[in-house]
């Protein structure tokens, strides 16, 4: 307190004394500078290498395999697995994947709905099924001593869901409720605008929750047929982390996946021809005073050879949270939004580069103008060596954070397998980031990213405009 009010008093006095005096005072009174590098050099805590090894565990005569990371510090195992091309965009009957996701845990095999829940809660078994547009993903974690219960439940859910009429009816009613809640949500309205305007007749353009009639047409036989077709050994990727050794992992894989057909019967996804060169689409929100904006351009695949240069390019431009160029110019300097960021997203039909923000309606054009100017500078002049080194240092320093939780590790391992990054990915990743040069970033940006941040450059903008007066 004394320091602060003292400083104010002094400032007033020094203003009278003149700027030269102030400079002398400031130099005299400056506290020792904060020297992060020196502090770290003297730090007692030194870098330690994370010791986790990724192993590929084959099973069922090599027809499937999993990436495994053993970690025995807690008696817990986490497994994430995915059936590719099994999501709602691929389904023959709209709503099947969604209904499956909604009712799979409502009783399975010999377990009634109630038993299933009670056993899971009592024994620390957590299971989530999620059907997205592209994939069907299961996340299982369990206390090791209850492995048998966990695999019994998992097998029942995958191969023998009860799909009772009452459960299906309740799921439909609850989905209708969620659909109604989406109508109150401007973010959802924006997603819907994008579906209509951008994806149109493509399966990605379908409502994520179909109407009652469509859902009502999905019966138990449809769900069984769907599960039987889309779950195969050839479209399965698995990540396992935790208290499991290779032999245990192999036994787990054989037990859980042994009954799968060798080949899944997945349908083809219609080709999607994205059009990024169209003018902004706008709708007014009936519930929101704030506007929501998203901009989309052609992205890249996770397995693209330009991935790291472009990932770093995006990181510098809009991906780095509060420190990105976008956030500094629009949030930090102007206070125009609570958050603005960009990112690459991947999906089967199209890979995107997206930027998003929310703001008061009168500011959205100004924000877009600043973003466009920032982008032009980024595109024309490239990133500086200093920015690049900072980004690389940041990405490399944060590398170990991914190992904080087993559930996270299992997800990461599954993604490594899904994107064919190889089991040595973690060993190579730091070197791959370190090898990126400013020239490589700027070259990739010129080749692969939009020429300008507008329709002419291939950036398509969608806005749900705040339609209400802001309450006082």
């Amino acid at each position: 307190m004394q320091i602060k009010s003292g400083a104010r008093f002094l400032t007033a006095a020094l203003l009278a004394a003149g700027i030269a005096g102030a400079a002398v005072w400031a130099a005299w009174h400056r506290e020792p500078a904060f020297d992060a590098e020196r502090l770290l050099a003297q730090s007692k805590l030194k870098a330690r290498t994370f010791k986790g090894e990724v192993r590929e565990v084959p099973a069922l005569n090599g027809k499937i395999s999993a990436y495994l990371m053993e970690e025995h510090s807690v008696p817990l195992a986490a497994v994430t697995f995915r059936f590719a091309r099994a999501g709602s965009a691929y389904e023959a009957k709209p709503g099947t994947a969604l209904m499956a996701e909604s009712v799979l845990l409502d009783g399975a095999g010999a377990f009634s709905r109630r038993e299933l829940r009670e056993i899971m809660k009592e024994k620390g078994i957590r299971l989530q099924v999620s059907a997205g547009a592209d994939n069907l993903i299961f996340s299982l974690s369990y206390v090791k001593s209850f492995e048998k219960d966990a695999t019994d439940i998992l097998r029942a859910v995958m191969y023998a869901p009860q799909l009772n009429r009452e459960d299906m009816a309740l799921a439909r009613r609850q989905l209708a409720m969620i659909k109604q809640q989406h109508e109150e949500n401007p973010g959802r309205q924006l997603a819907k605008l994008v579906r209509h305007e951008f994806y149109g007749g493509h399966p990605y353009g379908r409502e994520p929750i179909p109407d009652d009639e469509t859902l009502g047409a999905v019966n138990a036989a449809d769900i069984r047929a769907y599960l039987k077709k889309v779950m195969g050994k050839d479209n399965l990727t698995v990540g396992i982390a935790g208290d499991m050794d290779v032999a245990e992992a192999e036994a787990f894989l054989s037990r859980v996946f042994g009954d799968l057909p060798d080949k899944a019967e997945v349908r083809d996804l219609p080709v999607f021809e994205p059009d990024f060169y169209r003018e902004k689409a706008t709708e007014v929100s009936p519930v929101s005073a704030q506007s929501f904006v998203t901009a989309a351009a052609q992205g890249i695949s996770r397995s693209d050879k330009d991935f790291y240069p472009l990932y770093i390019a995006d990181y510098i431009f809009g991906g780095a949270g509060l420190s990105s160029r976008l956030s500094r110019a629009i949030r930090e300097k102007e206070g125009l939004t609570y958050g603005i960021y960009s990112t690459f997203t991947f999906s089967d039909a199209v890979n995107l580069w997206q930027a998003e923000f929310s703001a008061t309606p009168e500011n959205t054009d100004k924000i877009m103008a600043i973003a466009a100017a920032e982008y032009q500078d980024f595109y024309n002049n490239g990133v500086s060596n200093e920015e690049l080194e900072l980004a690389k240092k940041s990405l490399m320093s944060s590398f170990n954070l991914r190992f904080g939780s087993l559930l996270n590790i299992a997800d990461m391992l599954e993604q490594m397998q899904y994107w064919r990054l190889g089991k040595d990915f973690l060993k190579q990743r730091q070197a791959q980031v370190a090898a990126v040069t400013a020239a490589a970033v700027n070259d990739a940006v010129r080749r692969r990213m939009p020429k300008s941040f507008d329709a002419a450059g291939g950036v398509r903008v969608f806005e749900v405009r705040g339609g209400l007066n802001a309450p006082k």
Binding site: M1, R48, T49, K121, E183, Q290, F292, R328, Y338
Partner: protein, 489 residues
């Protein structure tokens, strides 16, 4: 951040997760959500290994060692939040939280953000009614830098006028993004006001937009000087570090900070008036009617045992989709589409016990007379609740207790959950020993304790029941027409 994606995937409709999920954002001490811990009988099960010590300047430090990976989470809590906002200056604590990223004398301007980013830390901060917390998750090799930065901004804040003005605008944008993008938050904010009247818990953490606009730099600096001090803070380190190392480093970076001479002010708590209010809110654009019922829980009334008992009661009533209230009203009765109960309580400030439900449209059409839909749902749930509590037996309670053994494992596994749990518990008056043996406390809760705690909740005399619907909906409900007619897909 904006939560949209281009193909609008649906999140899981049924929440997964255990007792330790944290209900942050607007709620304070989530002791209820922390819930229950129990080992089915094995005596060695300690909930979590937690080392605890206090520096000479009063800074409390807790360490949850976790050697899995070379990473560590640092959380620095200040025991202050929106309840300490001066009258008419709502949002002070929250704006200060934002300004803490805007520079100190030694780490000026945006240097804090640049340094944490450069060194790969992932961090943020949040403000609740009763705590303001700052955290950095980083590689163990970077922890000392994070500690130095956090210690530096405990007392060295130095914000420019421009930074203050920009950050106040950002906070207004945040308030808008949270509260003015859909009608539901306004509903809960209104219920809170009715329940707490002149009590500081009535005020939103963010402050109102006009309050935020009225805040000055000196308002925030005054608040900072009053509450940001070692003896009003708690440091939690969770990760690849031993208690001995943590003690050395805490002393090195925080030990030299001094406390100001003034005492820490305590908020004035208006005594809650006994009143039962039923309210109907019609807001344009609401598609899905919602029901909420909250009981005021006054400060100083509920013991630790009461709180543990209520945690078990909440888990029993709606802990999953086969729990009695869900089973009775959603699954079998079909009157509701969803129901949840929960509570939050700070022994020094008070709290509330809430029941939240979504009525089924068919039931609403038949029973939700537009003049008193809240009352109709209250009666419906009241009967089911009475029956469920009457059905609760020691055996059922044991089952609830037994659920917990595994959650302790999940809690220990993740440094984030360990740190959050330790921090919340320490700030709500638990000692490190009590936290380590929390499972034993849970085991000791008897059926009578649960009944007695619930009686205390219902006897508080303060209760607000609310019903939210669209303008057309309430009338539609009266006429038996449940379709809002606004599903233009």
């Amino acid at each position: 951040m904006v939560e949209t994606d281009l193909y609008g995937q649906i999140k899981q409709k049924k929440a997964a997760g255990g007792f330790f999920r944290m209900a942050r954002g607007g709620l304070f001490l989530t002791v209820a959500a922390l819930g229950l811990l129990l080992d089915g009988g094995a005596a060695e099960a300690r909930l979590m290994k937690l080392d605890y010590f206090v520096l000479d300047n009063g800074l409390r430090v807790a360490v949850a060692e976790n050697r899995k990976a070379p990473v560590v989470l640092q959380m620095l809590y200040y025991k202050t939040g929106s309840v300490n906002d001066p009258k008419g200056k709502g949002g002070t604590a929250h704006l200060l939280e934002h300004l803490m990223f805007r520079g100190t004398k030694r780490v000026p301007g945006q240097a804090f953000n640049r340094l944490t980013e450069e060194h790969g830390a992932s961090g943020n901060a949040y403000t609740t009614y009763d705590q303001t917390a700052y955290y950095e998750f980083s590689d163990i090799a970077k922890l000392e830098l994070m500690m130095a930065l956090e210690a530096d901004r405990m007392q060295g804040l130095d914000i420019s006028d421009e930074a203050f003005a920009a950050e106040r605008d950002i906070v207004l944008q945040e308030r808008r993004q949270r509260f003015e993008t859909n009608p539901v938050p306004l509903f809960y904010e209104t219920l809170s006001k009715l329940l707490w009247q002149d009590h500081p818990l009535a005020n939103p953490v963010s402050g109102s937009p006009s309050e935020i606009r009225s805040l000055t730099k000196s308002d925030v600096e005054d608040f900072y000087r009053r509450y940001y001090r070692p003896d009003n803070a708690l440091l939690v380190l969770a990760g690849d570090i031993s208690a001995a190392e943590a003690k050395d480093l805490a002393q090195k970076y925080f030990g030299k900070l001094a406390n100001p001479a003034m005492t820490i002010p305590t908020p004035t708590l208006e005594k809650g008036r006994a009143s039962e209010v039923e309210t109907l809110m019609r807001i344009e654009g609401v598609q899905q009617p919602r029901y909420a019922d909250s009981f005021r829980m006054d400060a100083g009334v509920f013991s630790k045992k009461d709180i543990q008992a209520l945690g078990m009661l909440a888990e029993y009533l709606t802990g999953d989709d086969s729990a009695p209230l869900y089973d009775e009203l959603v699954y079998r009765g079909k009157q509701l589409l969803g129901i949840d109960v929960g509570f939050s309580y700070n022994p020094e400030l008070g709290g509330s016990f809430g029941i939240y439900a979504t009525p089924a449209p068919e039931w609403l059409a038949a029973n939700g007379r537009s003049t008193r839909p809240a009352g109709a749902i209250k009666d419906l749930i009241g009967k089911a609740l009475e029956k469920a509590i009457a059905d609760l037996s020691p055996e059922k309670l044991d089952k609830i207790k037994n659920r917990v053994v595994s959650d302790a494992v999940y809690l220990q596994e993740n440094p984030r959950s360990s740190a959050n749990f330790a921090g919340d518990m320490l700030l709500s008056g638990y000692t490190a020993e009590e936290i380590a043996d929390y499972d034993e406390a849970i085991r000791a809760v008897a059926l009578d304790d649960v009944i007695a705690a619930w009686k205390k909740v219902t006897a508080s005399g303060g209760r607000v029941t609310g019903f939210l619907c669209g303008r057309e909906k309430a009338e539609g409900a009266a006429a038996g027409n449940t379709q809002g007619g606004n599903n233009a897909d």
